[in-house]
Amino acid sequence: MIETIFFEEQIAEHPTTERIRKALPRASWIPIERYQELFNKRHQNFKLQKKNPALILAKKHDNFVLPAPSGFGMESYKNFYFSHMYNCLYDCKYCFLQGMYSSANFVLFVNYEDFFKAISDKIEEYKGRSLTFFSGYDCDSLAFDKLSGFADQALNFFNDFSNVELELRTKSIAINSLLQRRPLSNCVVAFSLSPAKIAKSLDSKAPSISRRISAIKQLAAAGWKIGLRFDPLIYTSDWKQLYASLFAEIMDGLDPSMIHSISYGPLRFPKKMYKKAASLHPEHKLFAFPMEETKGVVSYGTKIETQMHDFLKSELNKYTSEKKIFQCTI
C-alpha cells in the first residue's frame, strides 16, 4: 500500500492525479517542484527504500517514445518503447531496475495524453510500416494498473490503430481491466516467467508462477493474444528439468493459437549494474555464481548460454511453430 505521495504542483489537478487522490485519501500528499529533486538525490539507499517506497506523480516533458534496443522485439519494421512509469512494485533480483535508478520510489507520469500524442506522431512518421510499441520496459505494465488506470487508456488509444502492435509486459495478475473489455487484436499481453523454484527465490513480491499461469489462461480464453517471456534464463544444476516442466505446465490447456510469440534471453548485466545489484543483495546466490565478464557485460558465458539457447529452442518447438520463437539478445 502506498502511504506517501509526492506530487509535482503542476499536475496537482490532472485527472490521473485526482483519480489517485480519490483512491488513496489517507496517504500523505506532499507537493514538490520536479520529481528529480527527490528521485535523483544522492545517497539514497535503494534496498532500504524498497521496504516502503513512495509514489511520485510527475509530468513527463520529452522523450515519450524511444527506439527499443536492437534485439528486443520480433520482426517489426521498427520497435519502440515508452515508460509511463519508472520502477516496479516487484523486487526481482535480476532486474536491471535494481541498478538503474538511485531511488526505489515509483515515478508515475500522469500525462498519458502526451505519450499517446507522441505515439501517434511515430505512427504517422512510419505510415504503412509494421510497428510495435513496448510498454513495461522501465516498469511493469499492469502491476500498478488498479491505481494508474494506464492500461485501459492505452488500449482505448491503440484500438484506433489496428495496424500497429502494443505489447504490455508484466508479471502481474491484475488483469481485470483487460477481462472486462473486448480483446484487442493488436495487443499482446506478455508475461515474464521462470520456473517456480527459481521465481520463488528471485521474484520477490511478484505473484507466484502458478497464479501468473492462471492469469495467462484466463486471458487466452477471453481472446487476448499472449506473449511468453523467459527472460532472463537462470542457470541451476537442474535447469533443463525445471524449464521443461514450466513449459509443460503453461501449455497444458492453453490454446497454442493464442500464443503470439515466445522469447527467451540470457542473464546479462552491464558490469556497473551487476556491481550495484550485487552490492544490494550480497547474500544472494544469484550474485555468487562465477560469472564471466566480456566487453563490460557480465553473463554466464558462451558455453552455458549456448546450452540454454539450444535446449529452449528445441523444447519450445514442441509446443509452437518456430517462427513464433525468438531470442532476446540485449
Binding site: 502511504e3 506517501t4 509526492f6 500523505s28 506532499i30 514538490i32 517542484e33 529533486e37 527527490l38 538525490k41 544522492r42 545517497h43 539514497q44 539507499n45 534496498k47 532500504l48 527504500q49 521496504k51 516502503n52 513512495a54 523454484k197 527459481i198 527465490s201 528471485l202 537462470i234 542457470y235 541451476t236 544444476s237 537442474d238 550485487a278 552490492s279 550480497p282 547474500e283 544472494h284 546466490k285 544469484l286 550474485f287 555468487a288 555464481f289 562465477p290
Partner: protein, 289 residues
Amino acid sequence: MSEFRNFENHSNDQFNFCWVIALRAEATPLIKAFNMKNVGNKSLFPIYTNEETGHALVISGIGSVKSAAAATFLKNQLKIKDHSAWINFGIAGFFKGPIGDLYQAIKVVSKESGAAFFPGLRLTKLLPASILFTVSKPENEYKEQVLYDMEASGFCEMAPIFSCNELTYVIKIISDTPNNSSSLITKNLVRELIEKKLPKIQNILAEIKILVEEEKKRLLIPNEVMKFEKRFKFTETNKYKFRETYRKWKIAFPTKNLELSEFLNFQPKEIILKLENELLVNAKDWTVL
C-alpha cells in the same frame, strides 16, 4: 581544543543511533533515558555516548549551520560507521496543536536557500508525517501548514553523506502553535513534553534499528577477510577482487572457513585464484536457493 575521555577506546561499531540536538533541554531527557555519559564537554560541541545502548548524542546549539557542523563533528570524533542512523530531534512550531505530538518531517525545506530534502524511510505506523521549514528566525505566525524549526535543513545537508538518506531522520515534538506561544516554552516544559513521549520514541528506535542492523550486515567486512588483508599485501584492485571472490565463495560454501594456515606461502593473486577455482568446480551443482 577538544578533550575526549577514553576516545581511543570507543568501539564505534556500537553506535546505532547518532542524535543531533540543538538544545541541552531537548537532549537531557534522552541522555537520561539512554544512560549516556559525557565524553567531551569541553570540545566544540558537547558529546554524550553509551556504547551498551548504542547511542551517541551531540548538542549543536541553535541554527542549521551549527546542526551540520555538530553532526560532522560527531561523525569525525567518534568515527561513526556508515550503518548508523542519524536523528535530528527537537521541538518545533506547528500551525495546529496539541503541543507534545511527535511528527516525522519527510520534506525539509531551507527557507533561506530554498533547498529541499526528503529524509528517512517513512515510519507510517508510528508517526504522522509533515513538511518542515527550517527558518533562521523564530516563526510566530505559523502561516503555512508545516512544522517550523531552525536546524533540520543543515542536518539534512550532511547526515545522508555519513550513512544514507534512509537512515537520516528528522523527528520533531510540537512545542508551540498559534494557541501556545513560543514565549511560553521553558526548559521544564520541553523536558516534560519529551519525557511523556519516551515510550513512543523507544518504539521508533526499535523500527529504525531493524534498518540499521540490515545495513550493518550488508556492509560487514568479515573477520576472515580482515585477517587476510592484514597478513597479505593486496593492491587496491586485488583487495576489491578478493572481497568479491570471498563473498561468492562464502555463499557457495557457507560452512567452510578460510584458514590463514592453508595460504601462508601464497601470493595475494593466488589466493583469489584458488577461491575462483573452487567456485568454478562448484558451479556444476549450482542452485539458486
